[in-house]
Every structure is written in structure tokens, then in C-alpha cells.
Symmetry: C2
Subunit: 315 residues, 2 copies
């Protein structure tokens, strides 16, 4: 799709339907009936397009500003291109060139900032002052983002399978809260389980303590989509009641999940996307013999990082 | 699907529909409007399941024998499992363990042979003598194989796009002749272009000379699915008239095709599957600005081989 779409077109009308993948060998290996719901072939390679289009199509502003080192920047750039809007993405000057290139190829303007001198948030505030008519978008803390992501929950309902659980990667919480809302909107009750990196477990700690708990620093998990300080407030309101539980996934299990997707499902996943399989590996007893929907949130990963994880295969 | 299916079920009823993937970035990079038709999520990870099920469901024999070091063995094992039949696959004793494991996990019996002592063909003849009631199956030289593969041609027609060309990897010629027959059966005229490794170009030489030309030895192309001595006679009858042309793809272009699928389409392909993109890279002028359907025939590749190709990225 390279034409400009009508701003009236809903997220559900514009997004690519998610890709459903089944693998008997993966199910046997994991001891559960696995259905993979993959957003790796979504526009811009991750579910973030749902969020970005949901947001960009609903705000009246012609210009949108955001900060992102990953998937949201690409997604917003492409959503704006489709809608005939413009967008500027603040990125760290240390960002991988492929990520910078992707935002630019999708039509976004990239503002690089040396984060040792000026934080991304600070640079974003400067730009907001410079462009007072622009909308400043959060990658995950917005009702519009939740609404956009809820379309994936609706698609999962429409698969018409009786899942015992839906496992969803948790970073800022935008995807998991969207899926909870989407499934609720269908009048279904399916337990939604979060899959969060153990070393970035602010959401798990938040659920335990009953309030938003923050990480002290951006955690350096291999699942770069989950490197957030804390979950968003809007998401928290959904997750505190709507999430069945959170599985805290050690780094090694995330990487094993990625390798299993490669070997038994022929699916290229980014590390964050493999969190759902990693959760199954971490708590196999919880899911044993169950019908489980594993959401693979995206597929954008550098060849070097990906190869490094693949070659970590033991035995 | 783990139950035994009715032998009356046709290939089209049993196979998974192919996966259609579009990538604006890949199209821009290649200068043509690309639609990827991917068999990487087919049962057993390649189109070979179409051929194998087509064959196994149509022969009356309860036991089927074949020789394969790759995808056909897995596919036949799984087809036989679904049909409640048994199957034995002769494989070189030097086969990668993952390939042997795959055949066994799909329910096949593996007969390893030390090819320095006894060729696969010889061991297969011995087994045929031992099991006179068994059917000896060729991976690519059979009308039943062509019929099974033709279902993919029909699916391509049903996409209802006006392709200027369909590019198909050529090894033994079973897939390309199946697709030609399938498209013909829909009453459509779409040029089908073969993509063959330059160092295994027996099909291209055969078309030029008007007769089947053989390679002297099994060519050691990275596209292991195209390591054949010659195309099958049944396929030749279809290809000699039905094929629009063959593009001979250098090894480096095959690998570049695999990397582009990884980086711009998030698609894990085996080297043979990347031949169609490799053909576009080899003769870009032929396809410039055209609507091109690229068939990615399968996704089964070892992590070591795959990583090696990914890390060959320059720049």
C-alpha cells in the first residue's frame, strides 16, 4: 500500500491481518497445543503499526513528534505517510543505522541526539516547543495506542479457538492491555498472561505491589522492546485487573524461544517477540497440555544479533 | 493436524494455504512490485508436502520407500502419518542430525547409508527387493508429484492479481512444472520464470539444447534443494513448452536474496527458497517496474548455514 488512505479508515480496515502459524513439532517440544499469532509480517514488521496508525489517524494534528529507538518510530513514520501527515522521530545518535534507515525509508524525519549530552525526552520537549501545533506521541502510554492494539485481540477472538491462555510480551504494556480490551470487546473470557524479561520485571513487581513500580535504569535485556523504565499509566489501569498473571522470563529462555521459533516454526522473531515462547519454557507446568496462543509481537532484529543468538544453540 | 485423514481428501483440502507476504521496502529495493508466496509455513516447512501428500494419497500401497537428504523425506513421512501409511527414507549417513530427527519426528523410518560404500539409489533398490509390495517414490519425477504441486499454481491464480511473471526455484523441476499446470488449469496465461543456480544449470542448458542435459556430478550449490543430476522426464515435458525462461543465479545472488528476505520481509527462507529473489537481483532489467510473484519454496535450513549467510552482509 503506497497510496494515502482516508483518515476515516479504521485500524482494523488498514492493518494486515495477523499471521497464524501452527507447528506440530513446536507443540510437541513444548508439551502444549501452540498457535502462534505473528505480527512479524505486519506493516513495518511489528504490532506497533496498529498503535501508530490508531494514534495518527485519530489526532487532528498534521505533524506528530515522538521518540523511539525501535519499532514505534518506523510504525509512526509509515502511518503518517499513509495519512499524508508528517512525523519526526527523536533517536539516540548511537542507534543502529538500519533502524535510522527504516524510519527514513518510511518517510519519517530522524532527529539524532547524543544522549550523553541531551536525553531523548529533553530533545523531544525542545521540538515540541519549536512546533507548538504538533502532537507529541507516546509509544505506549495512550488510550489511542490501546485502542489500536485492541484490533489484535479482536482478531484472536475471531480465530474461534478455545484458548486456555493467550501469552503476550510485556514492555510498556500497550500490547497486552490492547489485547485484553480487544478480547473483552468480543464478550470472551480468555486468560491473558504477560511475558516479561526477568531482568526488566517492573510490570510483575507492579502487579505484586498494586502500584506502578519503576526500574531504576533502562534494563539491558536482549528483548529490546521491553527496555522501559515503567509501564504506562493508561495500560496499568487495564493490566492491574485484566492480566491473569505475568511470567518472568530469564534471558536464556528468551533466546531459546527465538531458536525454537527458527528451528520448529521457520519463524524469524525479534527477541522481544520470542518472550511468549520463553514464558512457556520458563513455566512449562502451567501450560502443560493446554491450548495456548503465543503472540509474537515483531520480527525486526539485526542480522548480527540474530546470528549471535542462533549460534548459542547447545548440543 | 495429528489425526489420520481420509485418503479421499484432496491435496487442496489437506495442505495449509500458502502465506502471502508483501513488503514495500523489498519492492523498492528490487525496483518491482513483489508479492512473496511462501511455503515456509507449509506442513514440514516446504512445498514438498504438496507433492508428497499428492503421491501418498493416490498410490494404493501401504508402504512407501524413497531416498532424500532433504525436504521430501520429511514431507513424505508426515503425509504417510496422516494417511496411516508407513514410509522408509534412505538418507546418507553424513546427513545433518536435524534432518534425520525431523523425518523420525514425523513418523518415518530412516535408513542411513554410507554413500562411499553404497549409493542411496542402490540401497533403495535393495529395500524395494525386500519390500515388493512397497511403492518406490521419486521426489520430483512423477505425474502425481506435479499434480500435488499444481495446487500452489491454483492458489496463485486465486490471489487474483495480474502478475507479469511468477518466479519459481528450479531443482528437479517438480515445483515449476506443477505451478505451470496449476496456472493453466485456471485458464490463465502468466509467464512462469525458473530460477536455477548458475552452478547447477542443467535445466537452463536443457531448454537451450531442447533435450534433458545432466550435470556430471551433484552440484555443490548453497541451494541444496537444487542439487540434482537432472530434471525429471515428466517435468521436462511440461517445462520445455511451459516455461517462459530460466534465470541462472550466481551463488552470491542466492545469498543476497536470503539476506533481503531476512532484512526487508522478516522471512526466514532456506537458500533454495531465495532463488526467486536471487533471479530478480541477477536480471533486474527484465523485471523492472513489473508485478512479480516470487515463490519461496521452503524454510528449512540449519542455524549454522543460515547465520553464515547472514553474516556475509557487507557494509
Amino acid at each position: 500500500m503506497s497510496h494515502v488512505v482516508s483518515a476515516a479508515a479504521s485500524v482494523a480496515e488498514v492493518v494486515r491481518p495477523t499471521t497464524v502459524i501452527e507447528s506440530g513439532r513446536l507443540s510437541e517440544r513444548l508439551g502444549a497445543e501452540i498457535t502462534i499469532v505473528s505480527e512479524t509480517f505486519q506493516y513495518t514488521g511489528s504490532f506497533k503499526f496498529r498503535a501508530a496508525y490508531g494514534l495518527a489517524s485519530r489526532v487532528p494534528n498534521e505533524k506528530i513528534l515522538t521518540e523511539s529507538s525501535g519499532n514505534f518510530g518506523q510504525a509512526l513514520a509509515y502511518a503518517c505517510k499513509l495519512l499524508g501527515k508528517s512525523c519526526t522521530v527523536v533517536m539516540p545518535s548511537t542507534s543502529a543505522q538500519v533502524k535510522v534507515d527504516a524510519v527514513r525509508e518510511f518517510g519519517g524525519v530522524v532527529e539524532l541526539t547524543d544522549v550523553r549530552v541531551k536525553s531523548r525526552a529533553e530533545r523531544l520537549r525542545e521540538l515540541a516547543a519549536e512546533f507548538p501545533d504538533a502532537y507529541v506521541a507516546s509509544a505506549f502510554n495512550s488510550p489511542l495506542v490501546i485502542d489500536g492494539n485492541s484490533t489484535l485481540g479482536v482478531e484472536i477472538c475471531k480465530l474461534d479457538r478455545s484458548f486456555d491462555a493467550v501469552i503476550v510480551p510485556v514492555g510498556g504494556g500497550g500490547l497486552s492491555s490492547g489485547i485484553i480490551k480487544g478480547i473483552e470487546s468480543c464478550g470472551r473470557k480468555v486468560p491473558v498472561v504477560g511475558a516479561e524479561p526477568l531482568i526488566a520485571n517492573d510490570a510483575a513487581r507492579s502487579i505484586k505491589e498494586g502500584r506502578i513500580v519503576s526500574n531504576e535504569h533502562e534494563p539491558q535485556t536482549i528483548a529490546d522492546g521491553a527496555r522501559v523504565i515503567s509501564i504506562g499509566e493508561h495500560n496499568w489501569e487495564v493490566l492491574r485487573h485484566g492480566l491473569s498473571t505475568i511470567v518472568e522470563v530469564p534471558e536464556e529462555r528468551i533466546m531459546e524461544g527465538l531458536r525454537l521459533l527458527f528451528s520448529f516454526a521457520n519463524l524469524k522473531s525479534e527477541p522481544t517477540g520470542a518472550l511468549s515462547i520463553g514464558a512457556l519454557l520458563t513455566e512449562p507446568e502451567r501450560f502443560k497440555g493446554k491450548q495456548v496462543c503465543c503472540v509474537v509481537s515483531g520480527g525486526n532484529v539485526n542480522p548480527e544479533v540474530y546470528s549471535g543468538i542462533l549460534l548459542g544453540v547447545k548440543g
